[in-house]
């Protein structure tokens, strides 16, 4: 009920000048763009944030600045009848200005997987694509449930997910990466921390007992180069199962770092690493 109420309020907010469906939508975040495409709104999208790189058709759309710095002038010049933003400090000023000028703005807060469902529902509500939205939600839910039921009984595999090398920061419990790890049958070696992405000391790393180490790729540099760099970094901690079995991976996939409709694809990628690794082979053969 509360979901319905908040969706309803946003619907009013999103369409208070327009009684019909929005025809000129601007998306200021890559995961919003992905949702819009999934809802079949490709023709209605007039512009996206430059970071929108998926699906490929998104690259042909007009760009209105970046996710970090949307260009409000460029948004206005397109006369949008719906602008969708994320509840981030960097987008707050842009959303405020657009609202002040009377443009319909839908602001979404997407931090956990449950927020993703809510966001899809709200976008569906605001764009008159409720049916497609509930279909998409159902599809994601089914796919994720499948992973959940496959791995729920099994022994959890310990994962360390490094998001930044120097100083080393890892994904903590209060992140959607943690949710993805757990759905894929893993367990985060980082316990509960104050920060979402805490800095981890070498001592802590030494004792973490990670069976798999995943590094998010840094920038656009060559992955194999990054892979060898990362392996060199860990080479002193041979007692860690992940290092001993060479289960260290550098992942460069935007499905993994973006809380959008491809979340199940990302979970699949992680579970692929977890369950096809050398360690599992060794276990099954020995």
């Amino acid at each position: 009920m509360s979901v319905f109420l908040s969706a309803h309020r946003d619907q009013n907010e999103a369409s208070y000048h327009y009684t019909e469906q929005p025809k000129r939508i601007v998306s200021l975040a890559p995961n919003i763009t992905e949702i819009l495409f999934e809802l079949g709104l490709e023709k209605q999208i007039v512009a996206v944030a430059r970071d929108s790189d998926y699906p490929l058709e998104a690259e042909t759309k007009k760009k209105v600045g970046t996710f970090w710095q949307p260009n409000v002038e460029a948004v206005l010049a397109l006369k949008p009848d719906l602008v969708i933003t994320l509840a981030f400090e960097q987008q707050r000023a842009a959303a405020e200005t657009l609202r002040r000028l009377g443009y319909p703005v839908l602001t979404l807060n997407i931090k956990r997987i449950s927020d993703l469902y809510e966001a899809i529902e709200k976008i569906g509500y605001a764009t008159g694509t409720e049916d497609k939205a509930s279909e998409l939600m159902q599809q994601i839910r089914t796919e994720l449930d499948e992973y959940n039921s496959t791995y729920s009984g099994r022994k959890k595999i310990k994962i360390l997910w490094v998001i930044q090398n120097e100083p080393l920061r890892a994904a903590g419990r209060n992140t959607f990466l943690n949710e993805m790890i757990e759905l894929a049958g893993g367990e985060n070696v980082i316990g509960s921390t104050l920060q979402q992405y805490p800095a981890i000391s070498s001592e802590e790393l030494y004792a973490c007992g990670a069976e798999i180490i995943i590094h998010s790729a840094m920038g656009k540099r060559d992955i194999s180069e990054q892979q060898s760099e990362v392996e060199r970094f860990w080479s002193t901690m041979l007692h860690l199962p992940a290092v001993k079995n060479k289960d260290i991976y550098v992942l460069d996939s935007n499905a993994l770092l973006r809380l959008g409709p491809r979340i199940a694809e990302g979970v699949g990628e992680i579970s692929g690493i977890l369950h096809k690794s050398k360690r599992t082979k060794k276990e099954s053969s020995g």
């Binding site: 260009n71 409000v72 009377g102 104050l194």
Partner: protein
């Protein structure tokens, strides 16, 4: 004879101020016409339309560019005039508006606002702006009190108190950011970098009255600042009470800087370079320095902000990058051109 001299100099002063003000208006109009979108001024003059989207040119000009240009002018004027006055009362060429703890105080206020997650509107100001304003004033007065008890407002004890309070509060900020959730941390860091964004007319109105009022009063006491900048004993000998003038100048600069910081975060370089630039060209008389620095500061920040939002097309640069990269070399140029006679090896 003295009276005639006074009339002559004040006429010259009024002329200089008027000229600078006209240049400021011109720069503001030109900058409001620049942007990533091409807009036609005739469409702007047609006025607002009933529905959003019918006259986009008007919306871009009045809703985005004009508020931004006005904000940049107000902040630039506040920072530059505070810089002049603090350099005078601290008798230190390195003084800038943030030297007495305002930067860390504002930062502390902002992170507390983010951490508390409050949301309210006080005189159209958001919690972040209100806390930044409160934090700035709190630290500045703390520094003043410490300086007062440490050495009867001796300049050195005031400066030292400022440095220590700044360092201490910076440590508190770092402590809070290291235990904060990363989202709030990012918001704080982003805020501290400083930026000029569009603000509602009510915010611009309130802060405009505060800043312009503050600068006008500083201008009125500028003659006494001349006496203080020479030395306290000299000031006393011409009948100026250094403590009360310092207190007045100090509270006014704290007030207008706190407003500027609450509007735009910490924008460096304006408060340091503009006063020195103006001083090098027009001489050390504060009756000229205060108003002209304020106007030149406004021109400088309006131009810097326009560059920051246009030079790379849609990508905006932090305005602090422009103020430092344009201000530094320009200042060195002024220094070389006007101070050739100065020997560095006396």
């Amino acid at each position: 004879m003295n009276f005639i001299m006074w009339i002559l100099t004040s006429r010259r002063l009024i002329l200089v101020i008027l000229l600078c003000f006209l240049i400021l208006l011109l720069v503001m109009v030109v900058c409001a016409c620049c942007g990533t979108q091409d807009i036609s001024l005739s469409r702007v003059f047609e006025g607002p339309s009933k529905l959003p989207g019918e006259n986009v040119d008007y919306e871009i000009f009045m809703g985005i560019r004009l508020p931004r240009v006005v904000l940049a002018a107000l902040v630039g004027a506040a920072l530059a005039s505070s810089g002049v006055v603090l350099q005078a009362i601290l008798r230190n060429p390195l003084a800038d508006p943030y030297i007495l703890g305002i930067s860390s105080g504002a930062g502390l206020g902002v992170i507390i606002a983010f951490l508390s997650g409050l949301s309210f509107n006080l005189l159209a100001g958001s919690p972040v702006a209100v806390f930044a304003f409160g934090g700035s004033l709190f630290t500045v007065w703390l520094v003043w009190l410490i300086g007062y008890f440490a050495g009867r407002l001796n300049v050195t004890s005031l400066l030292l108190a400022g440095v220590v309070v700044n360092a201490f509060f910076s440590a508190v900020i770092m402590f809070l950011t290291s235990i904060a959730r990363s989202e709030q941390l990012r918001a704080t860091v982003y805020w501290l970098m400083g930026s000029i964004t569009e603000k509602p007319a009510s915010v611009l109105g309130f802060s405009g009255v505060g800043i312009v009022g503050g600068i006008v009063i500083l201008f009125i006491i500028s003659n006494k600042l001349n006496a203080i900048s020479v030395g306290e004993n000299e000031a006393k000998s011409v009948g100026v009470d250094p403590v009360s003038i310092k207190l007045a100048a100090f509270s006014l600069t704290a007030f207008i800087t706190a407003i500027a910081v609450s509007l735009s975060g910490l924008i460096g370089f304006v408060g340091l370079v503009v006063p020195h630039g103006v001083r090098v060209v027009l001489g050390p008389d504060h009756r000229t320095l205060v108003p002209v620095s304020a106007i030149v500061g406004a021109i400088f920040l309006v131009s810097a902000d326009t560059l920051s939002r246009t030079v790379f097309g849609q990508e905006q640069l932090p305005v602090g990058v422009i103020t430092a990269m344009a201000g530094g070399p320009f200042f060195l140029f002024l220094l070389a051109k006007y101070c050739k006679g100065i020997s560095w090896l006396k």
